[in-house]
């Protein structure tokens, strides 16, 4: 839907507009504060992050990001002085706390896992979804309504309820803690969304285009490839982004079915621990990096958002 094309309620008065605007702006500002706070925290030092009263103005530091990407060991000042000059800014930052960088942390591999699993499952879900949606949109499929309802109902199951047998099944066939297992699972969850959304998009493409192409001698398959797909590109892209966001944000399955090699970022970020409790600047840094792609997508998706979140039920 378009956020700009509202109908005008019969001439709202200038005052009512101003009051409405003020309330909305206030709400927007208050609701965005937690996010701004996390962003700010990612640039604080650990002592600043737990200061009372909470610090609004502070000396920015990259310590959170350094801690996020590295593991560190505590050393004596003599040992640190004996080392050569610091090689980079992170080295310098951690040495001030009598630490040296021991190696990279698990954040990068977890982040890469998130990317692989999210993109892999999105590709599969959109691929299968496009084919099915076309099938449901253009052909007389027996029991079509029942099949569509079945596809949707798989989405209503509580994730933990699904996770119990999946956990056992994956353990049997060796898919536990593998990217392939997670891609299969997320594809299955996302394909219901993909079919429902894409069927809506393909329904909107006039079938006369394919019929004309077929009269010109194309086969059905060629007509699908040359006329329907190009027309559906925008819908496919929007659907893909919705699938991507789901897979990127998913936590329940990831936390229960992965523990090491295939673990994604959402279950990993809360486990970042510093000395004496949670290392909040590092957690905030991880959160910030994790959220940025979503913010970009939200802005890109603005106009399709409504359709996506209601499985295509509300289109305008």
């Amino acid at each position: 839907m378009s956020l700009t094309s509202a109908h005008s309620v019969v001439a709202p008065s200038a005052i009512s507009k101003r009051v409405a605007g003020t309330i909305i702006v206030l709400y927007a500002l208050i609701s965005i504060v937690p996010l701004l706070w996390i962003f700010a925290t990612s640039f604080k030092t650990p002592p600043d992050s737990i200061a009372y009263p909470p610090k609004i103005l502070f000396q920015p530091s990259l310590e959170g990001y350094c801690n996020l990407f590295s593991t560190r060991t505590r050393q004596t000042p003599e040992y640190i002085n004996a080392l050569g000059p610091a090689t980079d800014i992170c080295d310098e930052t951690v040495r001030k706390r009598n630490m040296v960088i021991a190696g990279p942390s698990n954040f990068m591999p977890r982040f890469v896992n998130s990317l692989i699993i999210a993109f892999g499952s999105t590709f599969c879900a959109v691929f299968l979804g496009t084919l099915s949606a076309y099938g449901f949109s253009r052909f007389k499929v027996p029991l079509a309504d029942d099949l569509l309802f079945f596809i949707l109902s798989t989405r209503m199951m509580p994730p933990i309820a699904v996770a119990i047998p999946i956990y056992l099944m994956y353990r049997e066939i060796g898919l536990s803690d593998t990217a392939l297992g997670m891609i299969l699972l997320y594809t299955a969850v996302n394909v219901s969304l993909a079919v429902w959304l894409l069927k809506g998009f393909i329904d909107e493409i006039p079938r006369e285009y394919e019929e004309a192409a077929m009269i010109d001698g194309y086969t059905r398959l060629q007509a699908f490839w040359r006329t329907v797909l190009p027309q559906a590109t925008a819908g496919i892209a929007a659907t893909a982004i919705f699938c991507l966001i789901f897979a990127w944000n998913e936590y329940a399955f990831a936390a229960l079915l992965t523990s090491g090699t295939a673990q994604t970022a959402p279950p990993f970020i809360p486990t970042i621990i510093g000395e004496g409790g949670q290392d909040w600047p590092a957690v905030a840094a991880g959160t910030t990096i994790f959220l940025v792609p979503i913010l970009v997508f939200t802005i890109l998706l603005r106009k399709q958002l409504l359709r996506g979140i209601t499985f295509g039920a509300v289109r305008k």
Partner: protein, 322 residues
Amino acid sequence: MTEAGLTMLNRTADSVARATPEPLARKVRGISDKGLAWLFISPTILLLLAVNIFPLFWAIYLSFTNYRANRPNEVVRNVGLANYKRILGDQDIWIAMQTTAHFVFWTILLQTLIGFILAWLIDRKFRGHAFWTTIILVPMMLSPAVVGNFWRFLYEPQIGLFAYAISFATGIPATQIGMLSNVSLAPWSIVIVDTWMWTPYVMLICLAGLRSIPEYIYEAAEVDRASNWRQFWSITLPMALPFIMLAVLFRGIENFKMFDMVNLLTGGGPGSTTEVASITLKRQAFESWRTGYSSAFAIILFVAVFGLANIYVKALNKVKQR
């Protein structure tokens, strides 16, 4: 209203495409339309059968056994309906259901109320409304798990921003605002975060509802000199109602299943004051390893979601037809 809607919920929705006219179909070389239809649809159905339906049946089977996933070599015994009987008599399960009901009721009430008011205000189309609407929408796109985790930081009694803001506004010392440690505040802590996160969702759907009301109805009401108040109650609200109910349906199902945000924010604690059904299920299945027992509970939850959703959809269709 637009026919926008609700097709998905309505099983007799828009008919799924008439077949291609006969003469055309005959012209097609190679694979027939019918073959192509099955070729296109079957991979999706097969995947869902393998990853969703097969496990579901397995869970049904397990729910009649005493199987424990951490002891795979033990003999599996059929216990009949014993698991189901024990669940229905289990005090902890009933407490978890009450906690879930509290969570679902208050989140939906607050989100619908605030969401509708926001949509109603945005519909005034003040300057810059598109920009501010986008800002408001951001929280609902975030990962619930990551949101739960960082709200734990905001809720910290000494150092957290939330506690500080409340103490600043009310004068209560910040150390006493233990949103996550106080037994009577903790159930509200999850309601607050969920409301913060999902109010924009309800708002967006309500906004679509308000915009679907044709202008001429308001014009006619103006001609009849209906007051603004009257217009709101007899035009705006009834015509937006199907959309509001759709939003309630989606939020209801999602919050009934709630796991990720609560698991990271409170983990069900303190004690079991915020232990919603999914958390109980996780504790039984993956901490106590009572696989058979938890499978039975999972089936009960699934049937409950499905049943409630079906009843609700029927009501929704009635409203739509009015």
